[in-house]
């Protein structure tokens, strides 16, 4: 899951203070206009994202909804197949073609298709 925050360093220090968890990596993803910190919890990854582009989707999310969970991500084996499959099932694809993201090859599915949940699919690099 990815949590939109105003200040990435503050979020990282919150999680370190409360749970003793440290990010395994911090990276800028220019394509998505964010800086991201990835924290492993068991088999799950918690990701904090801070907008670096004031016109991007995450910046708009923070303006309208404030800090909070921005999207969830599911790992898939073959993202191109999965996008084709979801398309035939009537899902509303934001990305019709997978593109490069923090988690590998990624694509987003519109929240309208999943009860308000923005879904990212990721095929590990």
């Amino acid at each position: 899951m990815a949590i939109a925050v105003k200040n990435l360093d503050k979020a990282v220090s919150t999680v370190e203070n409360l749970f003793g968890l440290m990010p395994s990596r911090i990276e800028e993803i220019p394509d998505q206009g964010v800086r991201a910190a990835v924290i492993h919890i068991g088999d799950t990854e918690m990701e904090f994202i801070e907008p670096v582009n004031p016109d991007g989707g995450v910046a708009r999310f923070l303006e309208t909804r404030g800090e909070g969970i921005h999207h969830i991500c599911l790992e898939v084996d073959d993202i191109d197949e999965e996008l084709k499959r979801l398309d035939t099932k009537g899902a509303k694809l934001i990305d019709r073609q997978a593109r490069k993201g923090l988690a590998g090859k990624i694509a987003f599915i519109h929240p309208k298709s999943l009860h308000g949940v923005l879904l990212e699919l990721a095929q590990k690099a």
Copy 2:
């Protein structure tokens, strides 16, 4: 993670249609005023919750924010210890004492403590 929806049966059929996933159980949790469907994805559980109590927190969430991710849940070994520990760290506890929930003994931490994320701790029964 738990996703607040208006109609649980519709949400369950969406996930079945898009991903071929079926709930492992559907239960009413009177204490939280919701009906819930639990769907396993790898080591993670996706839970859909529909309010059955129109005055409860989930009903209010739907009114103000619409359908979407309501909270996340982390499993802990000893929830009473964890609540004590988080209290000394300055986290704002909604439940100072663990109570019975769908996932076992549970307690909620206020979103103010975790950048807008409502966090549930759960100790499996």
